[in-house]
Amino acid sequence: MSDIHDFEALTRYAKSFTGLTAEREACLLDVSAQLKPMLGAVTDEFYARLSKIPETAPYLEGRLESLKKSHLAWIESLFTGPFDINCTELMYKVGDIHVKVNLPVEFMAGAMSMINNELISLVINEFSDDKEKMTLVLSSINSITSFSLFVMQQSYQESTVAEELDKFLKISGMSRVLFTNLANAYEN
């Protein structure tokens, strides 16, 4: 992915990996009204767990309420859609923000795992009477959280490389134009 991001391509790529199909997107919207009232508790539990991990706790200091607010907005959006390039672009920016605040890359996968655990419990609780529906809801949630993680990690990787490049250019005194010309000269 270059500086000018092709979010349409990234959306397609992420969906192909994570299995976020039209059926699963429809399922997320279908259960939205039922699950949304419970998502605040998911957010609270998520941050309660994060606060107990020594490596993550420092990142929460003084920011817990604002983080919870952003997190709740995001988790609600998983059941709102649309799951289009705007959604991809938003998740991409979230990944970029994580890099800028120096959040270790493993935090994203770890956090998504914690969120999934909470959502799985929620879904089993709500839909255990209907195994077929429960299966669909679980797979849909897995797809959308995986989609979010996929896009964030893509962004994370690109932002990290960009930051490293900036550092190199600053240290070496090389201009960005020179670097681009050098890279182009060795493209083939």
């Binding site: 070496s172 005194g173 201009s175 134009v177 020179l178 010309n181 050098l182 000269a185």
Partner: protein, 120 residues
């Protein structure tokens, strides 16, 4: 016109010594302005690499308190590469044989660099 004049300077430079195999004038952004290179040598790569080496050389010279960079010299098994500023906007790169008389080469390069700087 200027390109022809640059080529003429490089042609004279190459002709000044049998030990000079190739030369080029490159912008500080790594783009070739004029070149007298043997067949098979990629102009784009020579240009970009030369500018990059000089840029790094500038930085190293400052960081290690050697003052303003005058020249970058690379010595390889098969010969030398010498890079010199030609004014503030260009670099002259010369590729010489391993048995080249460097004193004479440096003098010829200096004169060529001055001519190029005046032209640009």
């Amino acid at each position: 016109m200027r390109s022809d004049m640059l080529s003429s300077i490089l042609s004279d430079l190459n002709g000044s010594s049998a030990d000079i195999e190739a030369s080029g004038v490159i912008s500080t952004d790594g783009l070739m302005m004029a070149a007298e290179l043997p067949a098979g040598m990629d102009e784009d790569r020579v240009g970009a690499m030369s500018a990059a080496m000089l840029s790094l050389g500038d930085r190293t010279s400052q960081e290690l308190a050697r003052g303003t960079l005058e020249q970058v010299l690379i010595k390889g098994e098969n010969g030398y590469v010498v890079m010199t500023h030609a004014g503030s906007d260009a670099v002259v790169t010369v590729i010489a044989k391993s048995n080249a008389k460097l004193g004479l080469i440096f003098l010829d390069i200096k004169r060529a660099a001055e001519s190029i700087a005046q032209l640009l």
